[in-house]
Amino acid sequence: MHQFWEIISKADNVPIVIMLVLVCFFTWLSFREALKYDRARAEGKTVKQAVYAEEAGFPERVAVWPHLVRQEFLVAIGVTIFLMLWSIALDAPLEELANPNVTPNPSKAPWYFLGLQELLVYFDPWIAGVMLPNVIVVGLMAIPYIDINPKGSGYYTLRERPLAISIFLFGFLFLWVLMVCIGTFARGPGWLWFWPWQHWDVHRVVAETNIDFSDKFFGVDSASPMGFWIGLAAVALWFPAVMFPPLLLPSFRRSEFFQRLGIVRYLVFASLLATMLATPVKMILRIFLHVKYIWVTEWFNV
């Protein structure tokens, strides 16, 4: 526990603690605002009445000078004071001169990439370090073109866009923020898992045998041709297995959601969703069933 305190109070880790507090606070705040709005709507108020509920009697628009300019000025002063105090209280870390011959254990990427480094436990570098970051950036950019629900533009609501918000919160809170925190606070020497009360022992060895998917479930050597085809089938079937079941339901095909979305948008959305969901699925397979690779080929492993 003593060492855990040392880790979270390390100068470079303090921002992560601050981020965690802010993310929790703003999640609470946006939920509070959304629930307030949803309640007002349930009582039969219009969108505008629900959003502007507290402003009855005030003009809807205000002059930027002085109202907004004053606020910007105050925030700028506040941020400056905060940065000054932070910089007086805590010194930026500076370790010894770079030395390619002395590898620290653990070696960690900058903190905001630790979520990706954490995924290296579950995926090879070409997926965790190259493919997934690109899918994340492209997927984020695609959001406005996939989520064509016209409701919930410009105000907080949960009830009017439950799907979009749950997918985003899952990705942001669990697959990004939580992974960054795990990578920072729970991963010690050898990138082994350490609970807060455990000492980061550099000599710790964890006996763990991970075996490939086809060995585990079919008793087929993953390096054999048969193992190759089993792995290929498992990976190739994952996407249709996520994407197509809803399409088989006539009620889904007739639904307003699907009608508006159209087949192309739906397939883009579903394939991005399948990629996103593959991450926790592989993590669960690895953690609970000790599965190493799903698909082993001579060029790459998945």
């Binding site: 601050i18 946006s30 969108v47 959003v51 002059a63 907004l68 500076l94 390619p100 073109y145």
Partner: protein
């Protein structure tokens, strides 16, 4: 001496009037002119919806991100006066900043903490924009620009990490750039990389580092990306981002 007469003399002079286009009486007309006739103020509209002022609605995270970018530009420029991006000098320059330069430690601290804070504030800005659905039409493209800015912010921070030339920066950047080895087709350890003839001496990681190791060339490249190329690119995208906020109808509001 008649102060009012003097004031009138000054404020009606050609010199004064060439700079200040309007008087400063507090009335609705000058409130508009203060925004319209000033380069920096005219980024704003003249009027905004009242809830655009509410911190519980905007979290002020976009504004804070921009302010931190300005803080980083100023502190970064000052740091550049004391820093040589060569292996022989870089680490010693940081020590010099910490122990000899007046307020050098404070300067370096502010730059580092503002950088971390900017990464956090840009994430939170994205979080807010998502939660209020502000990427919806007609603001789709500005969300795309925002995602690019978020990526560029992390790249700015990443390139800055190496510049201290200490163990922390060296290994963080080594771990980070080792990923590039595994790039499909373009990395020597990536899928099909060897089929394209990739080796540690010609693959994408070599192009990023200017070598097969994180060494002098990598330091110089990181420095140029960090201090010149990325800030310029970010400045262009920030301009587009702000301009589009106005063109797309200002802060998002329920219709």
């Amino acid at each position: 001496m008649d102060v009012d007469a003097l004031k009138k003399e000054v404020t009606t002079s050609q010199l004064w009037r060439s700079v200040m286009r309007h008087d400063l009486e507090d009335n609705p007309r000058t409130r508009v002119l203060k925004v319209m006739s000033n380069l920096f103020m005219h980024l704003h509209p003249v009027r905004i919806p009242r809830f655009g002022l509410y911190l519980k609605h905007t979290w002020c995270m976009g504004g804070i991100t921009f302010f931190l970018f300005l803080v980083l530009t100023v502190t970064g420029t000052l740091l550049m006066f004391y820093y040589h991006p060569v292996k022989e000098a870089a680490y010693a320059d940081i020590k010099y900043l910490e122990f000899d330069v007046p307020f050098g430690m404070l300067l370096r601290n502010m730059h580092r903490w503002a950088a971390h804070a900017m990464v956090i504030s840009v994430w939170l800005h994205m979080y807010r924009v998502f939660m209020t659905g502000s990427y919806k039409p007609p603001r789709e493209f500005n969300w795309v620009v925002g995602v690019l800015l978020l990526t560029l912010t992390m790249l700015l921070s990443f390139t800055g990490y190496l510049l201290t030339d200490d163990q922390l920066g060296f290994w963080a950047v080594t771990v980070g750039t080792n990923m590039a080895r595994a790039t499909p087709l373009l990395g020597h350890e990536g899928p099909f990389g060897d089929k394209l003839g990739m080796t540690p001496y010609n693959d994408i990681r070599f192009a990023m580092l200017g070598g097969s190791q994180v060494a002098g060339n990598a330091l110089l490249r990181a420095y140029i990306w960090h201090c010149i190329a990325l800030p310029l690119i970010v400045a262009v995208f920030i301009s587009i981002h702000f301009w589009r906020v106005r063109k797309d109808g200002g802060i998002s509001a329920p219709q």
